[in-house]
């Protein structure tokens, strides 16, 4: 049998190294084919910002830009944790109140017992981990559907918060470090330094990877594309740091207010860390596998139960971090911390970003982008002087708008048969 390929366009197991041109062309036809990555969420975000800026020009100010980060931080952090549970096709309805329980522990340890901030934070995160372990155990080992387990958690944790808060009183957070998470700023110079380090780190990783692949003769993106990527990151980070370093105080005489809020690098570190875990470690790979096809994962010898439990542990642990952020933002913990719409906003953030509720699909950056959408909506709505009723309606419609942009831009994916 002759096996010579008749034409060189004939596909082969390893395609030839792409050029810049072919890379751009490829990207473009991927986009036209509906494979858009983060593009739709970013698009939705831009549309939302444009709308709000038109209606209330103050939306587009340095001051408000900084607000966006601090206001969206708690929901974003909780959403990051939820991504892990959603990746497995499970749900955690209790994440909101779990963050409340952990915040209550934090407040009790830090304010009532008066212990140092790190003890309080560790106690809170430890509580979160414990909660996650119990939830995960009930789901993976006992076999109760996660919806029911976490619904029970949703109810029970409300009660726990109430008991921890002595049936309803509020506790103030006085500790300087804890308060600083959401209220402190990083001096402009250090902000620039962090920015530079981040770009340098990214560049190093990308270039090393490029060299490694080329040396092994594997397909690698052209160097020009790699450099372009680094440049884009540098640009985006640079602009963000520049804007956050501008004076935004209402009255600069009373107090100077510039520099990025401390919570920004906190979120960035969490994002990088969890992205690393999901994309570059065995554990992350197994998480995707269990979410994509649990039976296949089991047959491949992956300890499915342990993976499932761990996802709940991470989710509740991140909820604890979210609770700490929320406590820092409010400088106080009350029985409603983590309640009202926190959970739905967090799950919504993950889903808007592109995480699937059926498992197997999602990234941590989704949670951040979706969290940004939610933050923009809440922030923008706060600038509009609507009555409660109208506000709810407009919020719903705006959310739909953001998701609609996403859905419509993804529709081609379905039309061209991509699954």
């Amino acid at each position: 049998m002759t096996t010579t390929a008749v034409r060189e366009e004939g596909p082969a197991a390893v395609t030839p190294a792409p050029t810049v041109g072919s890379h751009v062309r490829n990207y473009w036809s991927r986009v036209r084919g509906g494979d858009l990555g983060s593009l739709p969420a970013v698009l939705g975000l831009i549309v939302l910002c444009a709308v709000f800026t038109t209606v209330r020009p103050v939306f587009f100010s340095e001051r408000n830009f900084a607000n966006l980060f601090t206001q969206g931080a708690a929901v974003t952090v909780i959403a990051m944790g939820l991504v892990f549970v959603l990746l497995l096709g499970e749900i955690d309805l209790s994440a909101g109140f779990a963050s409340g329980v952990c915040a209550a522990i934090l407040a009790n340890v830090a304010t009532v017992l008066g212990l140092p901030w790190y003890v309080a934070a560790l106690a809170a995160i430890g509580t979160g981990v414990l909660i996650g372990f119990v939830l995960g155990f009930l789901v993976a080992k006992v076999g109760i559907p996660s919806f029911v387990v976490t619904l029970a958690g949703f109810l029970a944790f409300q009660g726990v918060v109430l008991l921890l808060m002595k049936e309803g009183t509020n506790i103030s957070i006085e500790d300087d470090v804890l308060v600083a998470i959401e209220n402190g700023k990083i001096p402009p110079a250090i902000g620039w330094l962090i920015c530079a380090l981040a770009v340098a780190g990214y560049a190093a990783v990308q270039l090393l990877r490029y060299r490694n692949r080329v040396r092994r003769g594997l397909v690698a993106d052209p160097i020009a594309v790699v450099v372009a990527r680094i440049a884009v990151l540098a640009l985006v980070l640079g602009i963000a740091v520049y804007v956050l370093n501008r004076e935004r105080s209402i009255n600069a005489l009373i107090t100077s207010d510039k520099g990025m809020p401390i919570v920004v690098p906190v979120i960035a570190v969490l994002l990088v860390f969890w992205t690393f875990v999901l994309q570059r470690t065995t554990y992350g790979r197994h998480l995707y596998a269990v979410g994509g096809n649990r039976e296949a994962a089991r047959r491949a010898g992956i300890p499915v139960d342990r993976i499932r439990i761990s996802a709940f542990v991470i989710c509740s642990g991140m909820a604890a971090v979210g609770g700490i952020v929320a406590a820092s933002q409010a400088r106080s913990v009350d029985p409603n911390t983590g309640g009202s719409n926190v959970l739905l906003y967090a799950v919504g953030a993950a889903v808007i970003g592109g995480t699937s509720l059926f498992g197997g699909k999602g990234r941590v950056i989704d949670a951040v982008l979706g969290g940004a959408v939610v933050a923009v909506i809440i922030n923008g709505m706060g600038l509009l002087n609507y009555s409660s009723g109208v506000k709810y309606i407009v919020t719903g419609v705006v959310l739909l708008l953001a998701a609609g942009v996403d859905a419509l831009s993804r529709r081609r994916a379905a039309a061209t048969g991509a699954r």
Binding site: S61, E167, G168, N170, I250, R331, S332, G382
Partner: protein
């Protein structure tokens, strides 16, 4: 196998009182104060009682009422979640021969024998007056006043607003004050209040000179944003409930006033009426409130709320509503001494 006739007979002999509290999140008072004082009063009188909390859930509210009637209470005291459910419960109780009291909230069109409460409109008035006083003390001309109202679904929030608007609106009309942003906070949620207030500041370019916050939790949310902008103490904030956190804010000068409702008095009055009703006796309150919907005069006990500023924080401690240990923790010890709390 208990015959229903027997049960009816039994219940007439043993007085038993059922109390339904509304929730535990809109204010700490229900679980921390009301329950405690009511229990104490019932115990002292030696009557059986059953105190339940509906957790802000109407289904639970009606369920609990059903269950209490099932359990054979002879007097039922409710804090309604809304007038409709309240009325249904009261009517059902009445049809079963159970005596009823409206506690803290009047059920419009209802059939309760008594109404015991603080005057909620009066609470609002005190808040409005307190804010005006603080603004005057600080000497701010033409202040912009922002309002953080309570939950849009809570009727009491509407009453509070009625009260403080009756003070503020004339000032707005007279162009003495400037009306700033005015928003309701669903579920009385402090986190929402924080974001809402931050956006109010953004929207007005920080030009807010006074905050009428409907309770201490909302007030604390506003104060945390003011602290962020180092404006705490410069912008007066109101509140109500006189809990530890609120009083601390008042002592620190971040909050200009709060409203103290001597819940013990209210609870004692209600318990007193309930005990006599449960025993089948009648009492004269000497006071009535007009129910506009039911068009009847409800015999009432109305208590007066009290405005609390730095000067009289000690009264609340003296009442035992907040303990000194709770209030004067850490950095507040000094402020407590200054305010004469010992």
């Amino acid at each position: 196998g208990n015959d229903s006739g027997d049960k009816g007979g039994d219940s007439k002999k043993t007085p038993k009182i059922g109390v339904i509290l509304p929730d535990s999140k809109s204010s700490p008072r229900w679980e921390t104060a009301d329950r405690k004082y009511l229990e104490a009063a019932f115990k002292a009188a030696g009557v059986q009682y059953d105190i339940q909390n509906a957790n802000n859930d109407k289904t639970q509210f009606t369920t609990i009422a059903d269950q209490m009637i099932t359990n054979g209470v002879t007097a039922l005291m409710i804090v309604n979640l809304d007038s409709g459910t309240g009325k249904a419960v009261l009517d059902k109780a009445k049809s079963q021969g159970v005596a009823t009291i409206d506690y803290d909230r009047l059920t419009l069109g209802g059939s309760a024998q008594y109404y015991v409460s603080f005057d909620n409109v009066q609470v609002g008035k005190l808040q409005g007056e307190g804010l005006v006083k603080c603004l005057t003390d600080q000497g701010i001309k033409n202040p912009v006043v922002a309002e953080l109202n309570g939950s849009p679904t809570d009727n009491n929030a509407t009453l509070f607003k009625q009260g403080y608007d009756s003070v503020l609106q004339p000032k707005f009309d007279a162009k003495e004050y400037v009306k700033g942003p005015d928003q309701s906070i669903p579920d009385w949620d402090p986190a929402t209040a924080g974001t809402t207030f931050e956006q109010m500041m953004t929207q007005t370019g920080g030009k807010i000179n006074g905050v009428l916050a409907a309770n201490d939790s909302l007030g604390n949310a506003a104060i945390s944003i003011l602290k962020k902008n180092k404006l705490n103490g410069k912008v007066p904030v109101t509140g109500q409930d006189a809990g530890a956190q609120g009083l601390q804010n008042v002592l620190a000068g971040d909050q200009c006033m709060t409203v103290y409702k001597a819940i013990k008095l209210e609870a004692d009055a209600a318990a007193d009426l309930a005990i006599s009703l449960a025993k089948g006796e009648k009492k004269d309150t000497g006071q009535t409130v007009k129910d506009p919907e039911g068009n009847r005069d409800v015999p009432s006990v109305l208590l007066t709320p009290k405005a609390i500023t730095k000067e009289n924080v000690k009264d609340v401690v003296a009442d035992g509503y907040v303990t000194k240990e709770e209030l004067c923790k850490g950095s507040f010890a000094e402020l407590c001494t200054k305010a004469g709390i010992s």
